[in-house]
């Protein structure tokens, strides 16, 4: 039931679907002044973006004396232009925008006896069967390793495949008796 545009109603291929969140990378140049980074990032959240990570290359000053910063964030595709415009309006020097790191990123949370069910096997099955790359993983095991634990994984996948990827992860979850909390892909959540 994902909401990739191609799964829309067949009667009307133009049916508007809002798409899920997309990951984007922008390269900015900042003046080396306190508070500059915070100021530069505000337009991202203001336009519906979610900050994912910031690479602040302090040691790497540009010829103009600016600091290059690479910012990863996600937002609905139809908001991306607003974000870039918002950055430019705020006087931020945007060097490069829209060069996507990867097609798409999805987050999933897995819950269950993660350790007992061999987490590294679970992750490699996700990589193989769902054709995804695990980019980032956090684990929380408040009950210790033999109790119920949770893991959050960020997966890089090819554009437009989120429906298939999540279906594959769901079936791995069923197999291993894990609860899979999927992202809501459709609409402007």
């Amino acid at each position: 039931m994902g909401n990739a545009p191609e799964s829309g109603d067949e009667d009307d291929p133009d049916a508007e679907t809002d798409g899920g969140l997309r990951a984007y990378t922008v390269r900015l140049e900042l003046v080396d002044e306190p508070g500059e980074l915070l100021r530069a990032l505000a337009p991202i959240a203001d336009n519906g973006g979610n900050l994912l990570s910031i690479h602040h290359e302090r040691g790497n000053i540009t010829p103009r004396g600016h600091i290059p910063v690479e910012v990863d964030f996600e937002c609905p595709p139809d908001r991306f232009d607003d974000v870039v415009e918002g950055l430019r309006d705020a006087g931020v020097n945007v060097i490069q925008a829209g060069a996507e790191h990867y097609g798409e990123a999805v987050n999933v949370v897995l819950v269950g006896n993660l350790v007992e069910t061999d987490l590294s096997n679970t992750l490699s099955r996700i990589e193989d069967e769902a054709d995804a790359v695990v980019q980032d993983l956090s684990l929380a095991a408040p009950e210790g390793t033999d109790g119920i634990s949770s893991a959050r994984a960020r997966l890089a996948i090819d554009s437009g495949r989120s429906g298939d990827v999540l279906a594959a992860i769901r079936s791995i979850g069923t197999d291993k008796e894990l609860t899979v909390v999927e992202p809501l892909l459709g609409g402007e959540a």
């Binding site: 909401n3 929380a140 959050r152 909390v181």
Partner: protein, 315 residues
């Protein structure tokens, strides 16, 4: 309109109480054992006082309701699964007598939609059921205004108890069992919260939505349903690390119904807090519409019932 109300719980009593404000007359009110019936209008305040005192509503039996002259039957008896009885038979009797029916009871609309529509087709009366989805929030009337064909999907949070529990778990870092106990103490969760936390209640509402979008074809058995019982506090913590949270989200399209815990951005419209409900109606030509508000409660649900009564054509 002259209203005959079946069910004198939170909803039925509130409908009786507020009907006068909407210029409608209550000619009958029944609970499971007794009824107050008066073709000239029952004395609502007195009848409600008797109910509060544990006395019979009146001298009639619930069955007498069907013999009185009424325009609209308000069905507010308990929601049941499967055959959706006794609600279904109540609706059937009213339609066969060429009367209108307004339902708060989700059972018949979720479980036996096509049969209801067939009975309606043979009747001078019609059925409406805004109150079954999202309490006070105008969901079905919004879809009706957009026309169901122009709506591609409906998503959202339609169970306040589950949403309250997830909100508290995320805010306080507490576990499910702990927060559930607190919700029961506060009266937010019922003594038996099973249908709220296992997703059944939300699923019934999304099944109704799918039936409206597709003009039938769905019952609870067709829905993929997962509850929130297995979500530990640690899962919400991990979600929060990444600016997300977990909500019990339902989705209805013409292809199916799914209800389960889902990751949504913390600042997303669908991440309502506390007992609040929200729906997102995705349309073909106008993007998404959101409406949120109180999804349950006697007076809240009664306003949806009475708005429906106002939309009915004269018989």
């Amino acid at each position: 309109m002259r209203l005959a109300i079946l069910g004198a719980g939170d909803v039925g009593r509130s409908v009786a109480d507020l009907a006068g404000e909407y210029d409608h007359e209550v000619v009958a009110l029944a609970d499971s054992t007794s009824a107050a019936v008066d073709p000239d209008g029952i004395a609502v305040a007195d009848v409600l006082e008797r109910k509060a005192g544990g006395d019979p509503l009146g001298t009639g039996s619930p069955d007498d309701v069907f013999d009185t002259d009424y325009d609209v039957l308000v069905e507010a008896t308990p929601t049941t699964l499967g055959d959706a009885e006794p609600g279904f038979t109540h609706v059937q009797r009213a339609l066969e007598a060429d009367r209108h029916v307004v339902l708060a009871n989700k059972g018949p609309v979720a479980e036996r939609y096509e049969e209801l529509r067939a009975l309606e087709a043979d009747s001078a009366g019609s059925i409406r059921f805004e109150a079954t989805v999202g309490g006070a929030i105008p969901v079905l009337s919004t879809i009706e205004d957009c026309t169901p064909q122009a709506v591609t999907a409906v998503r959202g949070v339609l169970n306040g108890t589950a949403n309250f529990i997830l909100t508290r778990m995320a805010a306080e870092g507490l576990d499910y069992e702990h927060v559930l106990g607190e919700a029961q103490d506060l009266g937010v969760a019922e003594a038996d919260p099973t249908f709220d936390v296992d997703g059944t209640d939300a699923a019934l509402k999304f099944v109704i939505l799918a039936n409206v979008l597709a003009d039938g074809g769905f019952s609870l058995a067709d829905a993929t349903v997962e509850g929130i019982q297995s979500i530990p506090g640690s899962a919400l913590d991990l979600a929060a690390e990444d600016g997300r949270t977990i909500r019990l989200i339902g989705e209805a399209t013409r292809d199916g119904v799914r209800v389960g815990p889902r990751l949504v951005p913390e600042n997303a419209a669908l991440a309502v807090t506390g007992t609040r409900n929200i729906v997102q109606i995705e349309t073909r030509h106008a993007g998404s519409l959101h409406s949120s508000g109180r999804g349950a409660g006697g007076p809240e649900t009664a306003t949806a019932v009475l708005s429906d009564v106002g939309r009915l054509p004269p018989l």
